[in-house]
Each structure stands twice: as C-alpha cells, then as structure tokens.
Symmetry: C2
Subunit: 339 residues, 2 copies
Amino acid sequence: MAHDEFSLIRQWTRRSDGQEGDGLTVGIGDDAAVFTPTPAMEVVACCDAMVETVHFLKETMRPSDIGYKAVISNISDVAAMGGLARYALVSIAVSPGWSADETSQIYDGIYAACEAYGVRLIGGDTVSAPDALHISVTVLGEVEQGRAIRRSRAQPGQAVFVTGHVGSSAAGLHLLLQQKNAGAPVPAEHLPLVEAHQRPAAQVAAGRLLLASGACGALNDVSDGLASELWEIAEASRVAIAIDAGLVPIREEVSSYAAQAGKDPLDWAFYGGEDYQLVGTAAADSVDALAEKFAAAGIPFTVIGRVEASAAKPSVCCARAGRKMPLPKAGFNHFGRRE
Amino acid sequence: MAHDEFSLIRQWTRRSDGQEGDGLTVGIGDDAAVFTPTPAMEVVACCDAMVETVHFLKETMRPSDIGYKAVISNISDVAAMGGLARYALVSIAVSPGWSADETSQIYDGIYAACEAYGVRLIGGDTVSAPDALHISVTVLGEVEQGRAIRRSRAQPGQAVFVTGHVGSSAAGLHLLLQQKNAGAPVPAEHLPLVEAHQRPAAQVAAGRLLLASGACGALNDVSDGLASELWEIAEASRVAIAIDAGLVPIREEVSSYAAQAGKDPLDWAFYGGEDYQLVGTAAADSVDALAEKFAAAGIPFTVIGRVEASAAKPSVCCARAGRKMPLPKAGFNHFGRRE
C-alpha cells in the first residue's frame, strides 16, 4: 500500500475507513489489507488497467466515469468466472493535467461502482505520472470451491449464447467522438448509448445464474468485442464455433444510430468491446430452461450459434445473409492495428 | 485479466502456464485466476505502482531491475504484516520508448523476484501507454488467522527496532546518478550499493520471525524512508517515538561513500527509502530474546529507540550529538516538495 505523505490521498480514500468487519480484518491504511476468505469458497483475482489516450479521453469520459469503468471491467472478469466480487485495490498515477478535484471525482466513480456491486476498496497506491493518467484495478472475489467457469470448457454440440446487447458501448463512443468534433451536445435520444459507454454494468447476476445452473460450458466477458471473445473460447477449448450474425442482439437505438452514421452495427458488436456482457456456451438441452431463468431474472439471453466440433485448429465462423464466412479475430490490439 | 490478442503478451507470461496445483485452481490465461486459501490463514493483499521518471529512470534501472523491484516492494508490504507472499498480478503499460525485448526483460525481473520468494504470477494486464512506462503490481499472501502485525499497535515502553541496514538504496541511487552524469562506470567497491538500489530484498524471514515471536507491536516496511515510516507508526498508534541517530544501522560502504560525496548518510537513511527493511516496535523485555533469534537467522536487528508515551499529538524525535530534535516527516512526496 502507498505510504501517503500527502493528506489528499488519505482524504480520497477516507470513505474506506472503518469498514472492517464482515470478513475484513485490516482495511485501507496499513502496509496491506487482510481478510478472511469465506469458508468453502475459492478466491478469484483479476487485474485490468486503463490508460488515458489509449482507453479513454477526457472528452469522452468524465473523471467519475473513468473510476467507475475501471472497477466494472474487473468485476466483469470475476462475473465471467461465475464469481462474486468482494474487494478492490486501485492504483492511480495522476499526471499534471488532472486537478485534485478531478482526481477526487475519479475516486467518486470508484466508490460508486464498489457500492453498486457490494465491493470494498481495501488498498491501492496513488502516485504522480509525467503525462497520461493511468488507473489499474485489482478485484478480488469468491466462487464456490471447484465451480469457477473456465473459458476452456466449450464442448461440441453446445449452444453459444450472449447476455444483454452488444455494440452499444462502441456506438456510444462513436457518438461521443462525433459530437466532440462537432462541438455539439449529444441528442437526448442517444443518451442510453453514451451511458452504455461511460457507465457499463457488470453481469454478476447472469454469471451467478449460469454457475448455479450447472449447464454452462465456457464463459468470457465481452471486454474486447464479441469476435475476440469467441476466438478466445474457441482457442482455449480447441473447438470450431459457428454463429449467425442475424441473431447477435443489438439494441434498436444502436441500429438506428448506425444507419444514420453510415456504419455497420455488427462491426461495433464484433470489434467494439467494453460491453461487459457475458458470452459463453451451454448444453443444448438446457438452453430452454436457462432462457426461462434469464427471463425470470429480467436479463436478455440470446442463443447466437453453436459449438460445431472439436478442432485441432480452432475457428470461428459467422453466417450472414446466407453466407458462412470466417470471422476475423481483429478487435482492439494494444500494440498495433487490427490484424 | 487482459484479453491478449497480441502473441507477445502471451509469450511474456508463458512461464506461468501449467503452474496450477498446490492451491492454484486457475492460473494465468482466463478472465481471472482462482485459488484455494490455505485453511486457518487469512489473505493479505497489497498494491504498489512504479512510474518511469517518477520512481525510476532507464539510466538507473535495467528493465529486469524494474520488474524485480516492483514485485519486491509488494512482497515487502506482505512481510510487514508478518505474512508470506503467494501470488502476484502485474499490470504493465508500455510506452513507445520500450522495445519488445526490453519489455520481455521486465518480465524476466518479475519472474526472478517471484521465483526468489515462492510467488506465482497468476494474472495481469499488458497495455500500451503514450509516454512513460508504468508498472503496477498486486501481491496476495497469507497470514495466520488474527495474527497480522498492524502499524497501529505500538505501545509505550516498547523498543523501536530496524532490520538490516538503511540508506543503502538511496546511496546507490546517488551513485548511479553521479556516474550517469559523469558517463563513467560504477567503481567495483560501490557495486553493493547499486545492488541495494536495483535488486533490494524483502524481509520475509524477519517478518515471519517477528510474527512467531508474539513480541512485535507495530511493524512497517521502509519504502519511503525511516522518518516517514516512524511517523506512520506514531500516527497510527498515537504515540511519541524517540530514536537515537547514532544507533541507526548504516553500512560502512554507505558512510564512506557519503563522506566522499559530501553527503550525510543519515539523510539517505531517513528520507531515501526503498530499503525494504522492517521497522517496528517490540516489548522491551523481549528484545534480547528477539536479538538472539535474529542473530541465529543471520539477520541484522538493531534497537534504535523507544516508544516514550501515548500521545494525542503523535511525534517522532531524534537525538543526535546529545541534542534531541523533532524528526521531520519529509520523505518523498509524490505531489510536491518535501514538507
């Protein structure tokens, strides 16, 4: 944990003081945090970074959105294992372009996400940076012993499903960049897309439902775009996956904005990312029961394809307008252009 | 966890493949890692960041040193709770000034530190950055239920001790900066100081010994300098601490280099930091037995002062050449100058 000479840092994390109890023995403010794991649960741990200019711009994300999304992307990773998020550690490197007030607002977003998902901030580090703002979040969660859902467990014959809708975050980003260039506010009818980009939700309830069902094969969260996630499942499970483009769940607002912007909404769904929905596979004979459970929980659940076969050379194909084509992996690549 | 389209990232962390077992259910390469906590142990979690130009320069740290030290600083935080480090998650943001080969060497250092302390790398994120390289490490460890050593447990009458020697890392840094400016290699007799700066050790054995003794009050690791750490203990425990400058353990090489450079070695000990020694308090009547145990373990252990009293207004004083003076907090401040 940071050794905080600077009183502002303690001020920013003061909301975590006195939160010990309920399994947390030592919270924020010592060299490290200490907690007692829940009996019969395993610990789930993940870590994701967001960097100014690479993952966000000041013009497209308010400071609180940055903190919020950095936490959500990690809660989403825990959800993709079927787990529950419990604790967060946040490391922020603040560059001179960010005021103390803006940094405080980043913490507002961090705490808002934590509160929304029952997560406690138990540690971190706040340091200075020369140029861009960096935020790196670790989330620790728990999952029933031996029950974590792996991305490598897709089986031939299983259905491929996705929760919620995809492409909304990318549509929102496109909109924000357009409006930024035009210097105009976002029209009210498009605000849900902006919300999808700035304040995404993590699909914890869906992950828990899938784990409880026992019917889930592989599972991933949609952080880098549907194509990339399907490829990860195909490669980890060594299977061939086929999906139908016409089944990919895209919000009506996204389709209409895409038409207006001259864009293909499927491109946002496949290669946009940051939707934080869950994509996975499930036993074909359990899909109807699963769909009913999701309907009862009010969570959209859509079958978009199937696992066709085991494959030494994994693949992902997509049928569109009657033609079946390989689906390029592409997605956002931090070290270069789309493949 | 990162979704790694880029094969280099997988290549860098390939050494973590197939390390499941012995409590680790899911290692690197899924949305999150999953492990089974050891029965009757609590989980210890901490997170520290290092930023190019703020915490290190390419000229003073080889890429492998950067990775090594980023892991050590976190293992040190776990040691300061009396715990054992088990797992690490590493987030690296790589800027254009760093080649793939240099990034690979950072991972070499990460793995070297992990191997030296029995830690497994179970996750992380590798992304691009516009300017400076950032590395943020989370280490997860374990400590016996209810036994973690807090910095808030110093009691009046306890002795104040420090392990090993302090000021060596700052002396090494001073030396590296001097040699960099002079364009000359570091003389052989000074290499131990450079080693102290570039490849510090974490005092895990000392922390475990202190925990087992049951005699330890408060404990901190020396990441920001002895003065800052003593102040943290004084403030968290609400006590007045008095130390004797003449007792502060400084290596002979540091003193002789300081004399040569016209510097005060105590300034490095108090305000240099990154020594990763442990500073703490222990029951006065247990100090002799503790010193014997440390001697048997081959770890230097030095009493440098005592906790004088409980204090609503915490303080740290230092006696030097017969005069007792308040010890300024100072230390490195990420958001401004020394106080």
